[in-house]
Every structure is written in C-alpha cells, then in structure tokens.
Subunit: 285 residues, 2 copies
Amino acid sequence: MKALLVDARSPLSTPPEPLFRDRMTTPLADPVDGLAEIVRQVRGERSLQRVVLSIPGLVDQANGVVIRSTNIPSLDGCHLGERLGGLLGVPVDVVNDGHAAAVAEATWGAGAGSDDSFVLALGTGIAGAHVVDGTVVPGAHGSAGELGHITVEPDGALCSCGRRGCLETIIGAPALRTAWNSAGGEGGPRSLLAAFGAGEARAQGIVFHAASALAEALLTLCALVDPGRIVVGGGLAQAPHALVTLAEGLVGERATFHRVPPIVPATLGGWAGANGCVLLGLQAG
Amino acid sequence: MKALLVDARSPLSTPPEPLFRDRMTTPLADPVDGLAEIVRQVRGERSLQRVVLSIPGLVDQANGVVIRSTNIPSLDGCHLGERLGGLLGVPVDVVNDGHAAAVAEATWGAGAGSDDSFVLALGTGIAGAHVVDGTVVPGAHGSAGELGHITVEPDGALCSCGRRGCLETIIGAPALRTAWNSAGGEGGPRSLLAAFGAGEARAQGIVFHAASALAEALLTLCALVDPGRIVVGGGLAQAPHALVTLAEGLVGERATFHRVPPIVPATLGGWAGANGCVLLGLQAG
C-alpha cells in the first residue's frame, strides 16, 4: 500500500510536494482498524481534512462501499467510507484504483494539456478509463472502459471473463509469460520485453502479436469513443516503451476513417493511483 | 426531404403536434436558394423563430458548416447556417442527421425514461450515437459512435472504410442483399427478413449471421461505453424486429461481466431525424 500526505491548500495545477510519501504494509487481518491506525501514524500531530482511499476492485464510490476487493476479501461489502470515517472523524472517499490512476495521468501525467484522454494500464489485467475534463466517464452502470475485454481474436484463447480472444488473452501479463515460456524464454513479460529490446528473434513474434492486438483494440476505441489522447501505462508499458511505440505505429498504418489521437506512455509510474487520490481529495476541497 | 413546423412555445416533454408535416423535394440545382424557398413556403404567413436542418454527412455544427454531404455534393464546404440564415433573417442550425435522429429517439422515442441511450440506425451504413442527458456525446473530434466499423471478423470482407470485417460488411444493407442473392433469394434485405419471418431455411443462416455480428459489436459497446439502453432503428430494424430480437437474445447469452442494458427497437421511424431537429430547435429556444 502507498500513502501520500499533502497540504490541503495545495493548488490543483501540479502534483503537490508530499508531506509524507512511503509504502506501508496493508493490514490484512483487521483492515478497517488497521487502515485507521496507518492514517493516524501518517497524520502524526497534523490536523487531517480528508482521506481518499483507492481500492483495486469494484467500488460504489457514491456510497463509499467496497463491492468486491481484488486483494482483501474481508473488505467485500464493507461500508469502508462510513466505518473509517467514523474512526477518524473526517470524510473518507473510496474510489477504484484504476480510476484514481487514470485521473492523475490525464491531469498531471501524460494527458496534461488535453481535456480528453483515455488512460489504460497494461498489467495482469487491462484497465481503462476515459477521463474528460478531469473526471472519469463512468458509463450507465459504472463499468465503462473495459478495453481488455474487447474481442480481438473471435476464436482465441479462453479469457478470465469467460469469453474467448479478449485483448487480455493476448497482451495480459500471464498470456505474455505463457507465450514467452512456450517459445523457450525464461521469466515473465519483463524478460520478454528485454529480449525484444536486445533483438532476440524468438521474442519478436510474441511482442508484435501483442502490439498488433493492442492496435486493433485501440482502433475500436477510436471508432466508438474518439478520445483526444491515449495514455498507456502499467507495468508492461514502461521504458523503453516497446509495446506503446509498436502499437502506435500499427494504429497509424491501419487507421482509415479513424481520428487517431496521440498515443503516449504514462509518466507517473506506480504512484499514479496515490496521486489520483490526492487530486480527488483536493478537488473535493 | 422532410419538413416539420411546430409552435416555438411547445413543451419539451413530448413531440409537439406539427403545424406542418410533409415530404418536400430537395433542391439539387441551387440548394441554398431552394431551401430558403421551401422554408418560406412552409412558413406561409407565420413568423419564424429558428430553422434546424439535419444533413446526412459530416457537419461542423458549431459553425453551421457542411463539411461533406452524402447526397448533395454542391453543399460540400458550404457555410449553410450563415448563408441560409442571411436569406431568411433567422438563426439556422445545421446538424448531422444521425445525431438529430438519435437525440429524438433517446428523448421522445424508445429511449424515453432513460438519461443514457446508445442509438443506432441499421441501413446502408450503420450510424450510432451515445446520447446522455439529451445530448450526443461527440468524442474529441466529433466522430464517436462508429459502431458500424468495429471489426467483427478480422479477415472478413473489405469494408467501404478500407478495413476488413467491419460490422457493416456483414449487416449493412448491401452486404445482406449480396448474401441473400447469393443464396438464391430475390430482392434486398426486406425480402430477406420477410423470408426469415416466413421460416424459409435459406434466410435463416444469413439473418443469424447478421444478428450474431451485431451482438458481438454490442458486447464491445457494453464493455467500452456501458450505455443505459440500446435503441436499434433504421430500415433493417423495423417490425417485426427479427434482427433486434435475435441480437438481444445473443447478447444476453454471450455476456459475462458485461452490464447488458435493455436492447429495444426504435419507435419514431423515418421521422426521427425531423423530430430531432424540432427537439434541438426547442432546446435552443
């Protein structure tokens, strides 16, 4: 877990200099009490105005409820905002971590200067969020932006979602690991991308296949959503950005009527989610 | 061309009773003067407050400019709002006809009661527009909603857009006609759908293929855009709604994590576009 503390009077224009910034151990046993204790430690003698928590999983942001947590099952169904707020005596907002990271990237990261960015994170899964004017476009049921589950290969591999050939079955970290190991490579996606960068022939086909699948999904995104910028982040999109660069080139080659926006790597790295919490907290005042 | 005249004091809650409603001949030779003459005929002795024109093609709505007209090439590049407004002495708005129809369907048609509808029109091409709170979500370059150009069959038939296997290459009216004629059927898509309704075996496969492709595109739409309702209109979606009913069933069967909204046939028919102009005119005051 990452913790960031900033001055509540910080301007919204740039990421504020943190008063505290460190990794903390997530309290798995008694998460609500544990989180309260962590906040008290971070706060120290300072007076606290607001807490914003980003959670991997499905969140009812309006009511501060964790519907389904990816990593802390004991939080499932927890009215976290209300309970933690009661313990701390300040408002507590609960947001999806992908949404928090997307808002930060769109506003302070690679999307800065555009009021319309689609931000995706390539990792085990593929999270996406369309951020317009600093706010995630949620969809009617809060589930828009699932770029990872666009069908790219209709008869492709079985996806965790139960369908076949989703983008995630080709470019998700487990899929890349499997393809790389099947080709005789050792290690996971980072090792694959390093081998690609070093010009290893057996890495080329796998990385081109992944970039091609990503390009197809991005063309669909352009046709349906027409974003002003596409920001690609997550563990698989880090420097030297081979996947992003390849996908950008393929989208440009394959586009016909599409209005293709700039496709750029994310810049905030692993702290995007925590920065998004800061931004949402400052927006809330 | 269709013309509708309504009382400018009509409420926005329901489609107003028209003072005039009829088809007119589009003036191809001198379109701007011709349109002005038609408006004068329709107006008669009444005082006119505003004209809203919907045009098939690419429109710069903010500036009233026809960028590329599908049917009247002499309008390409025309500052139609300014020129027609100058002739008539009233404000003239120029909108895309698909957008106008979508706004009307979402507000007064099959989308009534929901503040979030994706409206598509199945015809020669496939137009789509996401209407939220009565307004089309335009995308960063005004080109969102191109459901017809989602890739459904990666190595499929060549599309008018230059790519392969777009939804339009399977369910567009020319594609259905070709498939039907190749199977020995006579006539076009309406004849195909009539034969399907009558239980003709050779029509079954073609219509199921089309409905299946539509279902795949709608699942992608649900994953990326998450609309609150899907309204299917256009010539190929008319009663008895075989395509809409089949596609709705297939989306329900194939959905996994998707939040599937109601999928319903449009109700305003061929007058949706004209009704959308009325709605936009009343909104503008």
